[in-house]
């Protein structure tokens, strides 16, 4: 469904990602774990075409998107929730969600989005920047879902969010996956969060995947060794 083969990328002269390979099935949730500076965000940015891709291929549902620009990749079915959420803080919650909607939607937010995040419906006329961190995270996810994606990329969604909201987010991610047959790739440092949602675990270190485990075989202790400093 979502295939990455021999992906290489970096900044300027320095290569960060080395020949990454990943094949994610439909409705699968894959967690990419790793410490700061190991290439998680670089991976996501190059998947979105925000960073230039040096080599390799990215396929969504068989379609090669490697040569496409960011907004065309979104059209092809990749949605992105960046680290730090990056909502449009001067726009209302409703407008934030509308930015993701395709032209055919006529600006109408689908009901199932509000059903997933009722708080966004209550606050739809507030400025996005005046929401709490957890609410902003939900808004960023809703905005990404508005593009009607096949693959959802989440970069450290639990960063700076209180534990009770983290549980909520985990629950809604699983719900979305079932509701929309969505493929999800999530990067994290918090193991408890990914243990709750992921079907497969990858550890990234210095731009390479060094561990790959499925949910039934995963050893929490061995992964957490890679996460501790």
């Amino acid at each position: 469904m979502f295939q990455i083969s021999n992906l290489a990328s970096g900044y300027g002269q320095s290569q960060i990602l080395h020949e990454l390979n990943l094949d994610v099935a439909k409705k699968e949730i894959v967690a990419v774990m790793g410490r700061n500076g190991m290439g998680k965000t670089t991976l996501f940015k190059s998947l979105m075409g925000i960073l230039p891709q040096w080599g390799g291929q990215i396929r969504v549902d068989g379609k090669d998107v490697s040569k496409l620009e960011t907004h065309q990749r979104v059209e092809s079915g990749i949605a992105y929730v960046p680290q730090g959420r990056m909502i449009f803080s001067h726009m209302t919650v409703l407008e934030n969600i509308q930015t993701g909607l395709p032209a055919s939607a006529g600006g109408k937010v689908p009901d199932d989005l509000y059903a997933l995040f009722p708080v966004l419906h209550d606050m739809r006329h507030r400025k996005g920047g005046n929401l709490s961190g957890g609410q902003q995270q939900q808004l960023a996810i809703a905005r990404a879902l508005a593009t009607n994606p096949k693959v959802l990329l989440l970069d450290e969604p639990t960063e700076g969010i209180q534990p009770s909201i983290i549980k909520d987010i985990a629950r809604s991610l699983k719900e979305i996956r079932n509701m929309r047959d969505l493929t999800i790739v999530v990067s994290e440092q918090v193991l408890s969060f990914t243990m709750e949602i992921a079907d497969r675990f990858l550890v990234i270190e210095k731009g390479k995947f060094v561990v790959e485990e499925t949910r039934d075989k995963v050893d929490e202790a061995s992964i957490s060794r890679y996460l501790s400093v």
């Binding site: 979105m48 925000i50 620009e69 960011t70 907004h71 979104v74 059209e75 949605a79 992105y80 960046p82 990056m86 449009f88 803080s89 001067h90 726009m91 407008e95 509308q98 930015t99 993701g100 395709p102 032209a103 600006g107 400025k127 996005g128 920047g129 005046n130 905005r143 990404a144 508005a146 593009t147």
Partner: protein
């Protein structure tokens, strides 16, 4: 009681005078509010787009009077529409050829657009000559309206006012109610993120710049009712225009309106009591003082940092 009614008449005319300065300032500033306020591009050639509108009107006017005199009373509306599209199309080209290469380099944009403004001025000079020209105004724009015997309100002022109101309302609708406006605002807040939700930011930039230039063109058409047009007509206004936009708070259209209103009223009141240049000095010092206290301008949105 004779002096009281005279005073009232002067107050009314002076008030109207302030209002028409306000409309002129606002008309000029609207295009820039989009380009500088929303896109953050310092376009020193903005005044020249105004001149394009003015020359377009002049050309339409002379063509009408030599080929279709019967069309005379109505040519002005055609001129406004043509000014919009011609200035807009040239803006589109300029964005494509120049501005789009310079988004990461604001200082270079300043220099490049300044150079462009010189090139355009010389272009006008070569095509239309250095002498000022004026369009033949239709009769219904001439003369004045007298509600009482002592009050004298010029019709062209009223026309400019109507046009300003219409244009402002249209722009408000476009920016705050349309899908295009939503995309513009998203792009201006965070370009990378806007792309990541599927917005084609290059197209948005080009459209926005073209629209801002088109609006400047309409302002230029409106100016032909007030003054004559020369190659440097537009550049005279560029400083005032930036002043209005910066004072209003760069990203707020409402701020632009409030700022144009306060600067214009202050200017025209002070002009009545002192002299023209003193009025300018007072207004500028007030603006500088207020900007020192509120560097973000009059209006700025409040959100969490």
């Amino acid at each position: 009681m004779e002096w009281l009614s005279e005073f009232g008449a002067i107050a009314a005319m002076q008030g109207f005078n302030g209002l028409s300065v306000f409309c002129v300032l606002l008309l000029m500033a609207l295009g820039l509010a989009i380009i500088f306020g929303q896109m953050g591009v310092i376009n020193m050639a903005h005044g020249e787009f105004l001149t394009i509108g003015a020359y377009t009107t002049f050309v339409v006017s002379s063509l009408t009077s030599s080929y279709a005199p019967a069309f005379g009373p109505y040519y002005f509306f055609l001129a406004i529409i043509l000014s919009f599209f011609i200035a807009g199309a040239i803006g589109w080209l300029v964005e494509w050829a120049m501005i789009s290469k310079l988004y990461q380099r604001p200082l270079d944009t300043l220099l490049a657009t300044w150079g462009l403004s010189l090139v355009m001025q010389q272009g006008f000079r070569s095509i239309f000559g250095a002498r000022e020209v004026s369009a033949t105004l239709p009769d219904w724009l001439m003369g004045s309206w007298n509600p009482t015997e002592a009050i004298d309100i010029p019709r062209n002022g009223l026309f400019v006012m109507g046009l300003t109101l219409l244009l402002t309302a249209l722009l408000f609708l476009m920016i705050y109610r349309s899908r295009w406006g939503l995309q513009v605002r998203a792009t201006m807040q965070n370009r990378v993120m806007a792309r990541s939700v599927g917005i084609n930011t290059k197209r948005v930039d080009r459209m926005t710049f073209a629209l801002g230039c088109g609006v400047a063109g309409v302002a230029g058409a409106a100016f032909t009712t007030i003054g004559s047009t020369g190659p440097t007509a537009g550049s005279l206004y560029i400083v005032d225009t930036f002043l209005v936009v910066v004072f209003g708070g760069a990203s707020s259209l409402l701020g632009t309106i409030a700022s144009a209103f306060s600067i214009a009223q202050a200017q025209s009141l002070l002009e009545f009591f002192t002299s023209g240049s003193m009025a300018k000095v007072f207004t500028l010092s007030a603006v500088v003082l207020i900007l020192m206290l509120r560097p973000q301008g009059l209006f700025s949105a409040k959100v969490r940092k």
